[in-house]
Symmetry: D2
Subunit: 349 residues, 4 copies
């Protein structure tokens, strides 16, 4: 095969459909590309559960933005701080520069931090249906050129100062926002918990506190309390042509549960889903097919296709998380069964 046609084929299945409501409504099958085949039945079990509950998984977008942090260097902390104040006041002017350079990019926030004589300026933009990596870099270059011309007391430090923060385990993305933030939740009645998941509200809630909240705490987790978001994110990202290295920050989310009588409230909050329906990789035939089948290539207002995608990903994460946690509440089942079966329920992750 000529080298420029070489690909690595990643086994892919469409799972579900998942029933969703809220910012996206209906039933939708979802694609998962992974070498870890037990993920398919595991998410599939969660999807089946979603179809047994009115409204299924409720999904809500709580934020969206993409960021890039530039680094300027001054002679002193005093000079860096003075520049920081002026730049924060210039936000309207800077927004004009961004809008002039792009049909989609819009500046929605400027955050500064001074460390000694260094000035970090973090720009936040909305980027339409794109994940926005390129858009924010282009905008940051234009803004940096403009600011360096205006502020002779500042020198170039770096186009990216790691305060962005791209594909790293940090706290800033969840706190200041990066990517699309989605909350997915569902209320599961006792009969579904027992019949489909062989568990109860109490046992699942107890496991979530002990494992995802306390266990993550002693592991030294950073803004992360879940069992395996990364697995679902990777598989969905690959199947839809995303820059899947963004599962690093994407995996930093929280599973929160509550016992409500015999029912269980089960939620997954995902602050940093960095996904798009246009951009790098999105024009490959397999990816176009997948996005189209997901209903994410419709003629909608900018952002709307990407929002739909983010919501479907969040619902998928919930299905996989629910399935694995339920399996881990069952020691007997666990101890009896052999590897293949366990893996089919996602236990072995």
């Amino acid at each position: 095969m000529p080298d420029d046609e070489l690909t690595t084929p990643v086994p892919t299945r469409w799972v579900g459909p998942i029933r969703v409501s809220g910012d996206v409504d209906g039933e939708q099958e979802v694609p998962l590309a992974t070498f870890e085949s037990p993920l398919w039945p595991s998410v599939g079990r969660g999807a089946r559960v979603s179809r047994l509950v009115p409204g299924g998984v409720s999904v809500t977008v709580t934020g969206e933005r993409m960021t890039r942090s530039t680094l300027f260097v001054a002679a002193s902390g005093a000079a860096a701080a003075a520049a920081a104040r002026r730049i924060e006041e210039q936000q309207d002017e800077l927004a004009g520069i961004v809008a002039a350079g792009s049909a989609y990019a819009r500046l929605v926030g400027v955050t500064t931090e001074v460390v000694g004589n260094q000035l970090f300026v973090r720009f936040a933009l909305t980027t339409g249906d794109a994940a926005g990596h390129n858009m924010v870099t282009l905008a940051a270059e234009a803004l940096m050129t403009h600011l360096l011309a205006q502020h002779p007391e500042l020198a170039y430090g770096s186009i990216s100062g790691n305060y962005c923060s791209d594909k790293k385990a940090t706290a800033v993305n969840g706190i200041l926002g990066r990517g699309r933030s989605v909350v997915a939740d569902i209320v599961l009645p006792r009969e579904v918990l027992e019949g489909q998941l062989r568990t109860t509200a109490e046992r699942l809630n107890e496991l979530n506190v002990r494992k995802n909240l306390v266990g993550s705490t002693i592991a030294g987790a950073l803004r992360s309390a879940n069992a395996h978001y990364a697995n679902m994110l990777l598989a969905f990202y690959l199947a839809t042509g995303q820059d899947a290295a963004n599962i690093v920050e994407g995996s930093q989310g929280i599973t929160y549960t509550e016992v409500r009588g015999d029912d269980l409230y089960f939620s997954c909050s995902l602050p940093s889903l960095i996904v798009g329906t246009v951009g790098n990789g999105k024009h490959l035939p397999a990816i176009e097919t997948a996005l189209t089948r997901l209903g994410c290539r419709e003629d909608r207002a900018p952002c709307e296709n990407a929002r739909r995608l983010a919501c479907l990903i969040a619902a998928t994460v919930l299905c996989g998380e629910l399935s694995l946690l339920a399996a881990q509440t069952n020691p007997g089942e666990l101890m009896r069964s052999h590897l293949v079966m366990e893996r089919a329920q996602g236990v072995s992750r």
Copy 2:
């Protein structure tokens, strides 16, 4: 296409060769599967640099182990602590159970932590040439069954208590070890820095301190100080059939540089490379071909193929990291060039 043959083809290129020495010697091309095509020339530039330096990139394995943390529940902190002490003293007995159940798995460490009445027990194993996800889960099940029978004061909490910690942004993996740990380093003379990378030792070192060390600190990074390890890890993991969700912890590494006269000492330390040459996904034809071409399917002592793979990955990470950092030292170049060119140098990440 029948659903069970569906795949997502990820564009793949072989880049290099990279020259390596130390725990692996020679020149080796490496495969990168990614939707982000600018990664190829970026790593390629680093690989070219490696071939201009005697010995190229030096690679050293500093540790290897896979882990699973089980969770037991007692009535009280006193009971949990007493059980913890006994379990730590039982390590030889527990090692026997693990060895009896597997030709490859060997117990090399037991760490306990008590939180209230909960007892987390983290088992560390060597797992031959496998990444070891399944092996440690099977071993943990056997150990848990054994310990629950022996310790009636303990009840089942969870087969995984998140103190493992799998595919999450935590501190424990770097500190206690998870996966193969590799240090890759190189000394770059001035002519290579200027001729190939259009930079100097001083500028690259300065950028590394400001961006990777200080910038990561204000971002609230956790045991992570680098520009974009996640990009190289994802692409290499996909091309070799790894469970690429492990880039979450894999990306938590440190780039450290020193100016040595006109030369630059440049290093990447990667504590948590969770990779194997056997196991899930490794028998797919494209993966077998890739592993064979990498020299990682040879008839060697257990561990040796996986160690080679980990070393080649670390060297690849170094090439990509060096290339991007060098590009970011060049504001002029950055401001002048247009998107395509920038992306070709990996700037846009």
Copy 3:
């Protein structure tokens, strides 16, 4: 007043007694030195609760050690890694050096980490009844001198490489151990919860999950899930002449609760209590008086006085934590009452 007799008098009260059992048994009043006077009735309320429960607060020591991390520099990662392996194998020899230099210090662990050409070596020692800051530094100097003489390939980096880690918010102390680790817990029956704390098991447990576990997670907390350990630690440390800057790591502990029928299981796990009954400040009259009244100047085996002190501190933390959390479950009370009253219940923290 001559400058060398100048003191800052910190208002101090003895609160309690607290009833304790386990590694310390009996009833004991505890001293709290603080400018924040509402702390006294807040801890006092918890102490009263402890006396209404058989056994009161159960306390268990789960570990004790003090640490210092030295930093060596080699030419390369390969050289640093080779030295690391040899040093780990030398542990018996190094233990001999430590024992020869001190009547109390004993080497109990050596941990290494390589970052590029740098080698961090973390020494763990038991230090009798002292907190051990000076003892570990003296030992580290002797060890470093010895190792530098033996290993010509290593150069001096720093007597402290920040991997210790002293008085900083890090993950390493909880994971590898630093200071005395204590778990304190109590089971509270409904009548005590309602009568003394005006709350219920359900409400207090719910608050703990939402605030201490989930709220801390989104704050980007590091191995920390509690309401206000730092307040009790500071006051107790000051009243007993401790180096109170160690509340930084001391405050990184976990409050964990469980509903047991109508009862509440309530626990505080404190991994890093860096305290001693001898050493700096312990011979000041007010401090001697306090330590004597606490029963921590008895003629016991080395470690035993300091262990007693650590247990009493943990019990005090539990009393204050319980009191504040109970108050925060009461919105009505909160909204009605005025500042003085609220502060008297510790609400205003």
Copy 4:
């Protein structure tokens, strides 16, 4: 002594004067209350250095605010998110409520985060010359009462949801701001480095990178890269009647250095100095005396006394940090000298 007059006398010295410029100008002695007497000569050495440099330590305030995060609970993520949006839009109305209830408190920011059905609302206020713990709690109570009346879909969760975050090791305070943020820096010429500190720009810079930046990273530090800020903060806080438990977040700052020819640029950035000149403990005679001697009880505009205090603290931190780091660059000195001398230079911390 009657119990209500009991105090713990903490040994105190006035050190310096330190020369400062920028947001505070002149020379000022500073008080340090500590059981660790080697701190005095250590800070004193740094102060002497400050007087040898024109302008001494430059200090710049980059932010000031106090925070409290309330927790509301809704039925679902969708309801919580809808409430979050409305509350963010209500900021002017909420600011009116705060201003009506206090002569000093002013609402300057509202940040929300949704986790499942929970809504965390973090209020940021300026609080005049007070540290502001009580002021923000009172304001938060008024705001919560108002919002609960307005939003029947919300229930009370907690007056403090740990997203504030008070006296805990978290990332949020540095990123969103809590307390007064100050940058202190100085440029040290070679003769001062050699004559006073027996070191060089190169050695001190190298140590800072290796120990404070890299060493802190592997320790799993969170937004913290310094040697011992906590020591100076504790001593200064105690001597001026601060709530010294706030050294937990106060200690999370960054030491950054640069070699400039033969000179050294040395800086300490302290984002979270939670200090006041009025409030709890400030009317004790010893504290009034100390604040008056510091020039922090003048008749100035609100905030100005507290700003002065924060600046003096930052300068003091720089003096102590510089002194210890310089000592740690000297292995020969370290190895030769005996304990007393080492401690006098602050080496033993």
